[in-house]
């Protein structure tokens, strides 16, 4: 995600290596580099200036301990300051104590409001809440259709009025309807608007005044440049929103908007959106993001995602099969599927400490497993359950059935055998309790 920024800061810090003490001279060049890196990542120029000044101030007084290199020390200072800048804790949505929680979504055109609305509905629904959506974008052609498709996709109800063009009225009616139906949450999607468009800004202010939402979320494209600050300020002045949603963070290396917005409007970033799939939504954790910016990985997010899709029964079943050395291709397939549920493989790998830089130039697509799956799907039920019967002619049939070469089929079977042996060995050596039991990784010692 932030590979570029972390890479550049790492480079900047490299020049410090081998120095015995942080001094005015050796820190100045590094600060310049850090500032440049921040600007390249679209961090607001004022924020970048303040930031480097603060880091420098912190750094200068520091004595170098014998076993800490100046570079490491500076990384820690940069990390701490970045965390501070983005807010120190994760903040959740505020729900109404009783009755329907009303969430209002606002932002510029094309920032990803409607997609986020769908994702948020999915998330809240998965937490057991009864969610309804309201379509108040009465301007963009087919905006309501788009929301309808997403509502159907995640399985929630949509309130819409196709023959009305009054967003305030529709929002009001939606609230009445949601209350009548005893919905836990109503998410109101609105039209994209420019901060300088007074009429439109007044419209959303009226929606706010009229429905009195519990939570207003400002959605902003993470690729936004220096202007992110102005826009966030303008929306905040008009709406006094509660939180920020950063979208399209899967795209690319930049994300300076995260740092600038938080520091300029002093509102927490609550969610980050990392893909077009409805599952691609994460809570924003400033500390983790700072680690990520510095290329220190994001193990906690990874573990959390893994836990969310973790199925205890399935794990026990597989563990039993490993013990009996009975692992088959059906198990393999189900494991593949759960890895896929973690999200885009590249994003997942970027969360592993030290991998950030390595995956930067790696081309991993969502379809990385497609060929493997094709091969397994071309096996008969019997073959999948009993891989031992896979002789030459069966392999040939599977190859032509899956459109892969025999060599690829052979490789997969070989890999599967090796994996099976390894897992059996690991299992034996751990007394059958270790793999692939529940992950207990908690390297940061929290919770």
């Amino acid at each position: 995600m932030f590979e570029n920024l972390s890479g550049k800061i790492e480079n900047a810090l490299r020049s410090l290596k081998g120095e015995g003490q942080i001094s005015e001279i050796n820190v100045a060049e590094t600060m310049k580099e850090i500032r440049k890196a921040l600007l390249d990542a679209d961090v607001n120029y004022k924020v970048a200036k303040d930031f480097t000044a603060k880091v420098k101030e912190e750094a200068l007084g520091q004595k170098i301990l014998i076993n800490v290199k100046p570079g490491q020390l500076l990384v820690k200072i940069v990390h701490d300051e970045l965390t501070k800048l983005m807010g120190s804790t994760n903040e959740a949505i505020r729900f109404a104590k009783t009755g329907t929680t009303i969430i209002l979504i606002a932002g510029l055109q094309g920032s990803g409001k409607t997609t986020f609305t769908g994702k948020l509905a999915r998330l809240l629904k998965s937490q057991g809440r009864n969610v309804m959506l309201a379509a108040c974008d009465v301007y963009r052609p087919a905006a309501i259709d788009q929301l309808q498709v997403l509502a159907d996709q995640v399985g929630v109800e949509l309130y819409k009025e196709l023959d009305h063009k009054d967003a305030v009225k529709i929002a009001n009616n939606a609230v009445a309807q949601a209350k009548k139906l005893n919905k836990d949450v109503l998410i109101i999607d609105t039209a994209g608007r420019l901060a300088v468009d007074e009429a439109m800004m007044n419209e959303i202010a009226s929606v706010k005044a009229s429905v009195n939402p519990n939570e207003i979320l400002f959605v902003v494209d993470a690729m936004t440049g220096q202007d992110a600050v102005n826009t966030a300020k303008a929306f905040n002045e008009k709406l006094d929103f509660d939180g920020v949603v950063l979208t399209k963070l899967d795209g690319d290396t930049r994300g300076g908007a995260a740092i600038s917005i938080r520091s300029v409007v002093e509102k927490p970033i609550k969610f980050i959106s990392t893909g077009e799939k409805m599952e691609a939504l994460d809570l924003f954790h400033p500390e983790r993001m700072a680690s990520r910016i510095l290329g220190m990985g994001d193990v906690i997010s990874l573990v959390e995602r893994a836990q969310m899709i973790y199925d205890e029964e399935e794990a026990l079943r597989i563990q039993k099969k490993i013990r009996k050395n009975e692992l088959d291709f059906n198990d393999f397939l189900s494991q593949l599927n759960s890895i896929k549920k973690l999200g885009n493989l590249k994003d997942v790998m970027a969360m592993i400490p030290g991998m950030g830089k390595m995956v930067k130039d790696l081309d991993i697509s969502d379809d990385a497993f497609k060929h493997i799956e094709a091969i397994i799907y071309s096996m008969t039920a019997q073959e999948r359950a009993k891989p031992d019967i896979l002789n030459g002619s069966r392999r040939k049939r599977i190859a032509s059935g899956s459109g892969r070469t025999i060599q690829e089929v052979n490789d997969l079977i070989k890999q599967f055998d090796t994996m099976k042996k390894m897992m059996k060995q690991m299992n034996d050596s751990q007394g059958g309790k270790g793999m692939p039991g529940k992950m207990r990784v908690n390297p940061f010692g929290r919770r």
Binding site: G112, A142, G251, A257
Partner: protein, 323 residues
Amino acid sequence: MAFFGFFGKKENKEKLEQGLTKTKTGFFDRLKSVVLGKSKVDDDVLDELEDVLIAGDVGVQTTLKIIKNIQNRVSADKYVSTSELDGILKEEVSSLLLRHTASDEIDFEVPSVENEGKKVPYVIMIVGVNGVGKTTTIGKLAYQLQLRGYSVLLGAADTFRAAAVDQLKLWAARVGVPIVEKGMNADPAAVAYEAVAEGIKQNVDVVIIDTAGRLHTKVNLMNELSKIKRSMTKALDNAPHEVILVLDASTGQNAIVQATEFTKATQVSALALTKLDGTAKGGVVIGISDMFRIPVKYLGVGEGINDLQVFDPKVFVDTLFDK
């Protein structure tokens, strides 16, 4: 055609000026405050100038280049007063902008193309990341071309984003042009192929192909884009004749990576810069013009059907720097 163009022009400049007012006041108020109380261009002034350019999304690399050029001129001319500074700045920026935009056309025009001696449609493919305003730009472009007597056909090859086909259909109806669509989740390459084939059959002047927004980091989706492009060549040699990358003016330095990656996948031949009516500075144009030999062709300055302009570098710089 020229008749309409003549009428449109003055209005155009006003609209662009409106859109850029934010940029202009911001830029010049700050430049003035830089210059105030000083009679010579010193390091402080250049430092402040650097901030002004960075704040306008011009980007570190381009900003340093501009500053360096100014520094060189200052040291060559010795006594450059700050009142000359904005003249110099204007020249520097113009030179970056104008360098790769050779064409003098300032009206909506498409060349007529022939294949084996027969007139065929001029095929335009529209690409870009999510949410930059591709579909809206197509609607507005179709309208402007139609107004000037071109017959236009749209191809709905964004078959992925929810309701994208519906959105383009509404635009087609609004402008009054035919559309080729095969619904959602259809193969976009097949839609593009059919749209070009249909354009030949109906003998239209222009075919515009919409594609799904995609982040330039998604390898598969970028490959798909290349495939969509190839499928058009199968329907018509040399099609698409133009690939327009749509960029959101509020995008920061990422726009440069986008330009790089989309060019790799589809040989982008022109840029359209949208949402210039917001607070975005448009400085990104300077950076991109400097780094790529791809001209900026269109500017989106609002949501109305009329809010698309042909990019005129001269007007753009004049409007940006006029006091």
